[in-house]
Symmetry: C2
DNA sequence: TCGATTGCCACAAACGTTTGTGTAAAGTGA
DNA sequence: TCACTTTACACAAACGTTTGTGGCAATCGA
């Protein structure tokens, strides 16, 4: 391996005329020079030499001894999805701050793939697990509960499990309230994957708030499918063909909204004059195309997810957190 | 840790009345039942019991002994970028097939951050490194060369280092040829970050091919900046304000192209009638908005990057690979 | 003044593998 | 039959940490 990594704790100790145990203790105890395990002078010498030769502990030896890997596993449906990529960045950032490293895997929202990826992470002896691909019914969780690694959910919640999510119900309400204020009557809803809390909660918040304003969204106006542009296009086309042109359309995901934007334009419909569109998440592209959308704190979801996991690993009992979204109005509605 | 992970090699051996060494050998040698280290009968018993109790080797003990981690590090500018996320998926997929696990880090195209992330990966004793954020001049590579971990470049090349990239020069030519065939005369170029081979090669291929058709792209028609939608908007605005409306615009990145699309629409310009637009990469959104673009084999770049690295780790001497792009014509040009 | 505490450090075992070497028994060829 | 190779295993050391325990000197409290 590299030169750096060839210098060992024992080597350091020998060089200093100390025992490896002493060197290990001062190097590990964050206290720095004021370690309680060696004289200030000795501590200084140790730190100095370690820094000079660029000593880096062998994590495998350490993990073998301590049975802790300082690795945390993350599984997401797909890293290509901007939302999950951003959440992962938040996780990774927070993990680094706490001395952990995050390892990520794609499950593609496919149970077998999920299972395989989780097992692989377990085999790597991760200290904790963050799941970003859990359906509302928690059906992918049973296998994980048997192993006793602590885990938390992010982005999608499931009753009974600790999670940090966007307050998607509120987000749906925000969108509903805004569109109701615009006087819409016939509205379409692109609901995403209906087994996921992101779909369920946003849909519920949206329709219920509209209902409070006397606006009813019948089932035929709601399309499920996926969260990406293609799914959005497809769903929009289907709705348009079956029930005509709406006043407004709410997509629970920006990409689906952008897909809708595309097919509406293709049919000569004008946004927002003919139909108003609201998306969800406020991805950068939303800004690019002037999409009115509900901003969800994706990065924060990741950060807090990691912190929640850390708490759980410490044995604290934790509570799920819901982070508030915010409506950002642009030109599409 | 979990129940599974509490069963050790020694435990297995004891249970079977064998020595750990024998068990280790049969378990490791892929030959399966026909191991040359034990009788077929013994091999079968070992495999069976291991499977039954769900034995998973402790990777830390193994890595400590072998000085190999079966970890490969990946650093990318930003995982939020669809292109890099896709390349990473390719890497991860291929890594898994070869028994490796990939760990990814964001450098944000920032030298200090890059340095820190690489060091962190090195400290984890990665067996190899894949860099997706190297500028054309290779300036971020000097520190890495001193350590002796094998590495390869992906997406962006740098002369003298092994890499797998899209044939970006060809990609530029494709775009140039197509637009030339459309009879354009005044063309804008959103060139991205001018220190990166993706910008340099695409730009060169594009302008040189246009030149062959007698079309000159003056420096004032070329804007550098970033690869995202915001940068695309900003650059387009700048060009529009300084030199008026062009016949066509080529962006070396789809997101920048989509940004351009937005500002053109905002100024009442029609695409493709007033200005034709070509992007690069063929991300899903390009399909959504009907963007004509150059499709780059992102996933393959990742896969082959990993394979190239593996070759290099085997001590073979390797050659850089350039994968061919392909023009996909939609409605924007 | 003496016993008790504290400060500073070393010893050695253990974590779970991998792998070089050793060694019985069984098989082989002449 | 005997010298031989091969088969089928076991022994034990090593990888680089961490951490419980122990020991000696200096300091402290009364």
């Amino acid at each position: 391996m590299s030169k750096r990594s060839s210098v060992t704790l024992k080597g350091l100790a020998q060089e200093l005329g100390l025992s490896p145990s002493t060197v290990s203790r001062v190097l590990n105890d964050a206290a720095g020079e004021e370690s309680r395990w060696a004289s200030p002078e000795t501590s200084r010498r140790i730190l100095a030499l370690a820094h000079e030769v660029g000593y880096a502990k062998n994590p495998y030896a350490a993990s073998l001894r301590t049975a802790r890997s300082r690795l945390i596993g993350v599984v997401v449906p797909r890293l290509q999805d901007y939302v999950l990529a951003t959440i992962y960045e938040g996780i990774d950032e927070a993990a680094a701050e706490h001395g952990y490293v995050a390892v990520v895997a794609n499950s593609l929202d496919n149970p077998e793939s999920h299972e395989a990826r989780v097992r692989k992470l377990m085999d790597r002896r991760i200290d904790g697990l963050i799941l970003g691909d859990t359906p509302f019914d928690g059906s992918t969780l049973t296998a994980i509960e048997r192993e006793d690694v602590p885990f938390v959910l992010v982005n999608r919640r499931s009753p009974g499990y600790p999670s940090v999510t966007c307050n998607d119900y509120l987000g749906g309400q925000l969108a509903g309230e805004y569109l109701a204020g615009l006087g819409v009557e016939k509205v379409f809803l692109l609901a995403g994957k209906n087994r996921m809390s992101t779909s369920i909660d946003r849909t519920a918040g949206f329709t219920e708030r509209l209902a409070e304003h006397g606006i009813h969204v019948p089932a035929e106006h709601i399309a499920t499918g996926g969260f990406d542009a293609e799914a959005g296009e497809e769903a929009t086309r289907r709705l348009l063909d079956s029930v005509g042109v709406p006043d407004a359309l709410f997509a629970v995901n920006d990409f689906a909204a952008i897909g809708a934007l595309g097919v509406l334009a293709g049919r000569g419909l004008s946004v927002p004059d003919d139909v108003k569109i609201v998306g969800y998440n406020d991805t950068p592209l939303a800004g690019g195309v002037g999409l009115t959308t509900v901003r969800s704190p994706m990065h924060q979801i990741g950060r807090q997810g990691l912190e929640l996991l850390l708490d759980r690993m410490d044995g604290k009992d934790v509570e799920s957190r819901q982070l508030d979204p915010e409506l950002v109005v642009r030109t599409s509605a």
